[in-house]
């Protein structure tokens, strides 16, 4: 008898547990769905607007489904697609080359800083750490780049700023410091040089940390629009994000203009601006969807070693 009530009770408890579980899961899914929609809907609006007839867009406003389908905006842009293609080339170049160089520099610096037998470990670590807390500000930065390094209007201006990021160096240093000292000693006993130890032992073991930093650095390069804002005047060197910024802000400048009674050349229409945004972000988004699992695998790779 007791066993029976016990089973009933257990059953009940299980039921409520299951119910709570279900409610919890539904609420989590609901929240995530809403969040996902918040991200997706604006993108879909832009996509729809770029395929809408200009006049219909002005008349009906933004809708999720084009009120009057038209590809005029894309035709307008593809009449001279050089600007967008060039911007893609610049962005891809800085992202790939910049990430490779930055990763090499930062991992070498971090490895050295992680070695207890390095004499200048403390002052050099402090030097890296200090730049995280304090920087000279924008004007000294500008003077350094333009008057001492003289890299304005070159691709180096786009590459240099993210070569060594203090925070990433510290993350890498911590990771390198966590590697078992015995492994490095073993390599040394086997007669490996410092270079050999770094490239053949430390680097392969640090793959998970390197993958994470590589992802961050690549995103920095891909999304960077402030560096070109300060240092790039040559339109051939505009990266993608900056090109978008320029297109949007030129349209805004025109509005200021007309408010003081001046008129300013031609500015792409609303739909053309939307089409431009789709062309600039679309392929990147698709690439990300495609490579996402490799990226995640890369990040967790070696975690079980």
């Amino acid at each position: 008898m007791t066993t029976y009530t016990q089973t009933i009770r257990a059953q009940k408890r299980e039921d409520t547990d299951r119910l709570m579980n279900l409610i919890g899961r539904i609420s989590v899914h609901l929240t995530l769905t809403i969040l996902a929609l918040c991200c997706l809907v604006p993108l879909l609006m832009i996509l729809s607007a770029s395929f809408t007839d200009e006049i219909a867009l002005t008349r009906n406003g933004y809708t999720l489904i084009p009120s009057e389908f038209s590809t005029a905006a894309y035709e307008l842009i593809f009449r001279s697609p050089t600007a967008i293609l060039r911007a893609y080339a610049v962005t891809i170049f800085t992202t790939v080359v910049g990430t490779i160089i930055a990763l090499t520099l930062m991992s070498m610096l971090a490895y050295v800083l992680s070695r207890p037998d390095f004499v200048f470990r403390k002052p050099l670590s402090f030097f890296v750490f200090f730049t995280m807390l304090f920087n000279g500000g924008i004007v000294p930065y500008y003077i350094l780049m333009t008057q001492y390094l003289r890299v304005q209007d070159t691709v180096f201006a786009l590459l240099l700023p993210y070569f060594v990021v203090g925070f990433y160096v510290l993350i890498l240093r911590t990771y390198f410091a966590g590697l078992p000292e015995e492994l490095l000693d073993a390599a040394r006993v086997d007669g490996a040089s410092e270079w050999r130890i770094f490239w053949s032992v430390a680097i392969p073991l640090a793959k998970p940390a390197l993958a994470t930093i590589a992802l961050f650095t690549a995103l920095n390069y891909w999304n960077d629009w402030t560096t070109p804002l300060y240092f790039i005047r040559n339109a051939d060197l505009y990266p993608l994000q900056y090109l978008l910024y320029i297109i949007q802000s030129n349209a805004q400048a025109m509005q200021i203009q007309s408010s003081v009674g001046m008129n300013l050349g031609e500015v792409p229409t609303q739909t053309a601006r939307m089409a431009m945004a789709i062309l600039a972000t679309g392929p990147a988004a698709v690439f990300f969807l495609f490579f996402q699992r490799y990226l995640i695998r890369g990040v967790t790779l070696g975690a079980f070693k």
Binding site: T58, Y142, I143, L229, Q248, M262
Partner: protein
């Protein structure tokens, strides 16, 4: 066989000759350019920075301008256009880092003239102008030059353009004809008198398939100039007829209440959309043919032709506000000389050239004759795109910002309907009533905090009144109360003190 051979050799010969000709031609122009470059090498090179997109063919124009300048003032020029979106940031950094340049576009609305003077980024040129740029100096009245004076000296050259910007209504010509109110429209002298016309237009709009509203927005009616005030700074205004220059708070005047009530009644009558934010910019809505009027916009000579090219329909317009010359309208477009420039005198001489020599100025504005433009009618100063280019935009050089470089009254017309607009505008500039505080600029430094909190109040309370979205009977007292709480009284007192000081110094 021989015939074939000879034909082939003949063709080959032509090809060779053509190639040789091409070679010698390009060789010649190359030599010529090298010689020109050598000649220019020893001359100082002025760097001129201004906002605008990069023009593909800027090098040709730069060479032509340099050659022209080398002969006259012994200097050459480098044109540095910075994209609109980046101009303000980049010129700020260039100034702050004392990077070398000679001339830059400056104004109260971009590359701020007053803060540039404050930070000593611009060189004082008040003494140099009459001396080195006599024609330019004489082309404007002393009162006009006063507007560019800050704290005793002039730090930039004024670009003569449409200084006087009287506001008034624009209406589509077809609508005006259909309602048969042309005589009434052309006789308008106040906004109150516009109500019957608006009612007729509303009726027309209701029976039309494309048009949705009479007008896109109403808030421009509430600009202070429409009611006879000089908007010295935000809501602080001076009546244009008040020689004693009493500073008033615009929202406390009878005119403001009158205007607000008018705007409110028009919005309630359905003349404008209740939710203009979703309609995008006004131009696009106009081009889409949704509106029949603009109730209040800048009316100027040649304005109808400009409006037609922007909106695609013929329009009529009528100025209602009295033409008034204010500091703000004169200093809207300036070119300053950098304080780090080693060639101050040459820079001022450049200002003389660009403001008084039509050939030089138009080369900068429109490009090189025969390469970028050709005369359509030289007697009328009318030009057309060079060669078989369909528009100026296809010629490789068309910045289309004449007002940025110098005296726009010297610029060639690009549209037959514009011919004659410049002398009319110049006459309008001369006939305008100078504001009692023309030349005065308000130094906000002492009341910075109040200015910031007042701006927040204006956004929240004043803008709905301007658009007609709030009932003036309750909203205006609420606005004035909030303004007082934000410290507008202190700003008014400070401005009045500065105005009195300025008047005393002038007398």
């Amino acid at each position: 066989m021989t015939g074939r051979y000879s034909r082939r050799s003949f063709l080959k010969g032509i090809g060779l000759a053509a190639a040789a000709g091409g070679l010698s031609l390009s060789g010649l122009s190359g030599i010529k350019r090298a010689a020109a470059a050598r000649r220019f090498q020893d001359l100082p090179r002025l760097i001129y920075i201004f906002p605008g997109g990069a023009q593909p063919d800027v090098a040709t124009v730069q060479d032509a301008l340099s050659e022209y300048m080398a002969e006259r003032i012994g200097a050459t020029i480098e044109l540095r256009a910075i994209d609109w979106g980046a101009f303000n940031d980049q010129i700020g950094l260039i100034n702050a880092s004392a990077e070398n340049y000679d001339l830059a576009f400056t104004a109260p609305w971009t590359n701020n003239y007053y803060s540039n003077v404050d930070q000593e980024y611009l060189a004082p040129i008040g003494d140099l102008l009459p001396q080195l740029a006599p024609n330019y100096w004489a082309s404007m009245t002393p009162e006009t030059w006063e507007a560019a004076r800050v704290g005793g000296d002039i730090y930039a050259g004024i670009n003569q353009q449409t200084f006087v910007k009287p506001f008034g209504p624009y209406i589509r010509a077809d609508v005006l004809e259909a309602i048969g109110a042309a005589a009434d429209f052309n006789g308008l002298s106040s906004y109150d008198a516009m109500s019957p016309i608006l009612a007729a237009v509303k009726e027309y709009v209701d029976n039309d398939d494309t048009l949705t509203h009479v007008t896109y927005y109403l808030d421009t009616i509430m600009v202070a100039e429409n009611w006879g005030f000089d908007p010295v700074d935000g809501l602080l205004v001076v009546k244009s007829t008040d020689a004693s220059a009493q500073v008033q708070i615009f929202s406390e005047t009878d005119e403001f209440r009158q205007g607000a009530e008018l705007v409110r009644s028009w919005l309630e009558a359905g003349y404008a959309p209740n939710d203009p934010a979703t309609l995008g910019s006004g131009d696009e809505a106009w081009a889409a043919g949704l509106f029949a009027m603009r109730v209040s916009d800048i009316v100027k000579p040649g304005g109808n032709a400009e409006a037609e090219s922007r909106w695609g329909v013929p329009v009529a317009s009528k100025a209602i506000a009295e033409p008034l010359l204010t500091t703000g309208s004169v200093t809207a477009t300036l070119n300053g000389v950098s304080s780090v420039s080693a060639n101050r005198e040459l820079a001022v001489q450049f200002l003389e050239l660009v403001n008084s020599d039509p050939v030089f100025y138009n080369t900068l504005c429109k490009g090189v004759q025969g390469v970028h433009w050709d005369w359509a009618d030289e007697a009328q100063q009318l030009i057309k795109p060079a060669g078989d280019a369909a528009s100026f935009g296809d010629t490789g050089y068309a910045p289309n910002t004449d007002w940025m470089y110098g005296n726009v009254f010297n610029s060639y017309y690009t549209d037959p309907t514009q011919v004659g607009a410049w002398p009319e505008t110049a006459a309008l500039n001369r006939s305008a009533r100078p504001s009692p505080v023309l030349g005065f600029t308000f130094d906000r430094a002492a009341v910075d905090t109040e200015v910031a909190s007042v701006a927040a109040v204006v956004d929240e309370f004043a803008n709905p009144i301007r658009g007609g979205f709030a009932d003036p009977a309750t909203a205006i007292p609420a606005l004035n109360e909030a303004l007082q709480a934000a410290g507008i009284g202190a700003i008014r007192d400070e401005m009045q003190r500065q105005v009195d000081e300025w008047l005393a110094a002038k007398a």
